[in-house]
């Protein structure tokens, strides 16, 4: 189904959280991501959808894959892409986020992609500048393109996730990925399960529309997909969980444990992985089970789809003479 079939345009001027999206938005983005994924697999990846537009990637947290993914996405769409990262940012010299935002806005970019360690930072940048902002991760709040790419990759592998049983296991409490995935899974009508030690679950998480488990074996029963989350190093040292070996023993996803799930159950991880902490090393490399590299590939396509929609809208709104 193409866009014309439901005569609906992508109306958003920013992407802060997946909660801003409705199922039609997601349909548009997935359709366009399908298109870009095919082009990305061809030798001629360059396009001119965003030619003339400027995209600033503003990263206050260290990142390799997300920054590279947004940079490639922008460049393949023909935008001029500039990266600002923590190491050389003015905030190191004491500049406030508000001043940084205004300074960058004065350079007239049409798109800002921002990652920041504080929840609400992307929303703040958008309020300050009015420029189309893509949240590339803000604190423990949201990481909408990760949610989109996870579900895009999953849908491509197992079809419509509506009614499918999807388990997210790991550090739900601190994870913006978990929040974004739960938002997407709710929008798409999946049956959601969350599994973690109680110290890594938010209070009142039972109100997220998910079933909560502490025991991974119980949680895996009949699952069609398992999304494992990264455990941050600083959480492994005894404050919230005693040790990595205990974590792996109880919450590590292994091929053996997956026998409790649906026979075709797939495994995902947003990366970067801690092998044999969140996921058994061999399972991560099992092409039949693991979608981990599919996720990375889907990431570029989904970000192209998002930048394309926001960029085209920005182009309309800033047409000279209007």
């Amino acid at each position: 189904m193409g866009r014309a079939d439901f005569s609906y345009d992508f109306l958003h001027d920013r992407l802060i959280t997946v909660d801003d999206l409705n199922p039609l938005d997601i349909q548009i983005l997935f359709d366009r991501a399908d298109h870009w994924l095919a082009i990305n697999q061809s030798p001629d990846k360059k396009h001119d959808a965003l030619r003339g537009l400027t995209q600033i990637n503003l990263f206050f947290e260290p990142s390799t894959r997300t920054l590279a993914s947004f940079e490639l996405a922008g460049k393949r769409l023909g935008a001029d892409v500039v990266n600002f990262s923590t190491a050389n940012s003015s905030t190191k010299k004491g500049e406030s986020l508000a001043d940084t935002a205004r300074t960058l806005a004065a350079m007239r970019p049409e798109l800002i992609v921002v990652r920041h360690e504080t929840s609400g930072a992307a929303d703040f940048i958008h309020r300050e500048t009015g420029i189309a902002t893509v949240n590339a991760g803000d604190g423990m709040h949201s990481h909408p393109t990760q949610g989109l790419l996870d579900l895009f990759a999953l849908t491509r592998r197992i079809g419509d996730v509506g009614g499918k049983r999807v388990l997210i296991v790991g550090d739900i409490l601190h994870s913006r990925v978990a929040r974004s995935d739960v938002g997407m899974l709710n929008l798409l009508g999946a049956e959601i399960r969350l599994c973690a030690p109680p110290t890594l679950l938010p209070t009142d998480v039972d109100r997220w529309g998910a079933e909560i488990f502490h025991d991974l074996d119980d949680a895996l029963d009949g699952c069609d997909a398992v999304i494992t989350l990264r455990l941050q190093k600083e959480r492994m040292s005894g404050a919230l969980i005693p040790s990595t070996r205990e974590y792996f023993h109880f919450w590590g996803v292994t091929s053996r444990r997956l026998e409790l799930a649906h026979p075709d159950c797939v495994v995902m991880h947003p990366g970067p992985m801690n092998r044999n902490v969140e996921i058994e090393s061999m399972l991560a490399d099992d092409g039949n089970r693991s979608l981990i590299l599919d996720q990375v590939e889907a990431g570029v396509a989904i970000r192209m789809a998002v930048l394309e929609q926001l960029g085209q809208r920005a182009r309309k709104n800033t047409r000279p003479g209007l």
């Binding site: 109680p198 110290t199 005894g238 404050a239 919230l240 070996r245 023993h249």
Partner: protein, 425 residues
């Protein structure tokens, strides 16, 4: 294996409330039958001569010393003292010297306990070194057979750490035993705040320290859904705080040490270091409140709090002496003192030594019913004797009970259907 019938016994079972003259038949390590005329032809017959027959005791708190401690209490020496005291199941608790905070330690100790004449369970240290900072591998310790986890004598000062501990343990449905002490008020004190202690010039902890800690710990247990064990309540206000928490539906249980239940600050006889204990001895009203809390079930278990150490650590002025006393051999006799003083009836006195702790840990023993393990104790309720710490079976001599006159002692202890102690040899 031939069966044993103990006949002419006063069968006392707090689980069912039974207290009657009857026979009890043991076969294949289990209680086969209780009643009259149940002995079979080939049975080995023991005539109890009207003595009390009860479930062998379950002691949730006894310590040993690290391996190779010169003259130290070992699992073996403790087990021999335990069976003499009528104990069939003992739980080894973590201490600063031996924090038992690794799953490998639990596995090793359980293997070492296999040849013992008693059942030994192990309580894991809840935080590394009991320092109250870093979680121990609670899940792996539970998987290795830890019965529950405990902070030993070390309260956790930091509420975030305590919250995380309770929260994490709740995922494994483990009891977390916490000593009810406010870390600040408790630090470097040696006695309960009172007019007498002040005159003796002792550094004192106000009794409210206990109530504050119970209120705090219970609030966090409510928040996290954890199972909280108040490890040795010792004050009137502490008992009330537990009662309040239970009314709120919090999963909270409580133990009391035999010393807190039987002795008060006056018994400490001024500055005798033998009576330097933790918790410190309290006022008589506190002791009476504990006895009442046994009667009404607020206290689930009475523990020996057996804490052996080199006498050199006690050969110090009161304030410098280490705290603790050996007490596993005298646990029953001290408890029977409350019965002879008519403070408790026999069934109420035996409940926190049998079915009370058994139910907390989900153990099948601690009750007299067909099919239950034949862990039994035969008691002469009236025999007078004097405890001489110099002759203790425990490897250590530090005792608050030295030279104390008791009435009532263990005649025989049976574990798993085998006689593991017989007073007459």
């Amino acid at each position: 294996m031939s069966a044993i019938t103990i006949r002419n016994a006063r069968v006392v079972d707090p689980a069912s409330g039974r207290d009657e003259l009857a026979s009890l038949r043991v076969e294949n390590g289990l209680i086969a039958e209780i009643g009259d005329g149940i002995a079979q032809d080939e049975d080995h017959i023991i005539d109890a001569g009207g003595a009390i027959l009860a479930p062998a005791f379950i002691d949730l708190r006894a310590a040993i010393e690290p391996a190779f401690t010169p003259g130290g209490e070992t699992l073996d020496s403790l087990a021999r003292a335990a069976v003499m005291g009528g104990i069939g199941t003992m739980v080894i608790s973590p201490t600063r010297d031996m924090p038992m905070d690794r799953p490998e330690t639990i596995t090793g100790l359980r293997a070492a306990a296999l040849p013992l004449p008693v059942r030994a369970l192990f309580c894991g240290g809840a935080t590394m070194g009991l320092a109250g900072e870093t979680l121990s591998e609670l899940g792996l310790m539970a998987a290795c057979g830890a019965a529950f986890v405990s902070q030993g004598d070390c309260p956790i000062a930091d509420t975030v750490t305590l919250r995380n501990l309770l929260s994490y343990a709740s995922g494994f449905e483990l009891w977390v035993a916490c000593p009810p002490r406010d870390s600040g008020l408790f630090r470097q004190t040696v006695a309960t705040e009172s007019e007498a202690a002040a005159r003796l010039g002792l550094a004192t902890e106000p009794a409210v320290s206990e109530r504050m800690a119970i209120d705090r710990d219970a609030s966090l247990a409510e928040l996290t859904g954890a199972r909280l064990m108040i490890d040795r309540v010792s004050t009137h206000d502490g008992v009330e705080a537990i009662s309040r928490a239970r009314k709120r539906g919090i999963e909270i249980c409580a133990t009391a040490s035999i010393a807190s239940l039987v002795l008060n600050a006056v018994d400490a006889d001024g500055l005798d270091p033998a009576f330097r204990l933790s918790p410190p001895l309290r006022h008589e009203e506190d002791r009476q409140a504990l006895v009442a809390a046994i009667e009404n079930g607020i206290i689930n278990a009475v523990v020996s709090d057996h804490h052996p150490m080199d006498l050199d650590r006690k050969a110090q002025p009161f304030s410098d002496a280490a705290s603790g006393s050996i007490s596993i051999e005298t646990l029953l006799a001290a408890m029977l003192g409350l019965v002879h003083e008519e403070e408790l009836d026999l069934v109420s006195a035996l409940r926190p030594l049998t079915i009370g702790p058994a139910d907390l840990l989900g153990l099948p023993q601690g009750r007299l019913e067909t099919g239950a393990p034949a862990d039994l104790v035969l008691i002469d309720g009236d025999a007078p004797w004097v405890f001489d710490a110099g002759n203790s079976v425990s490897a250590r001599r530090n005792s608050a009970w030295h030279n104390r006159r008791f009435q009532g002692r263990v005649l025989m202890t049976m574990v798993d259907g085998g006689i593991v102690y017989n007073l007459k040899g």
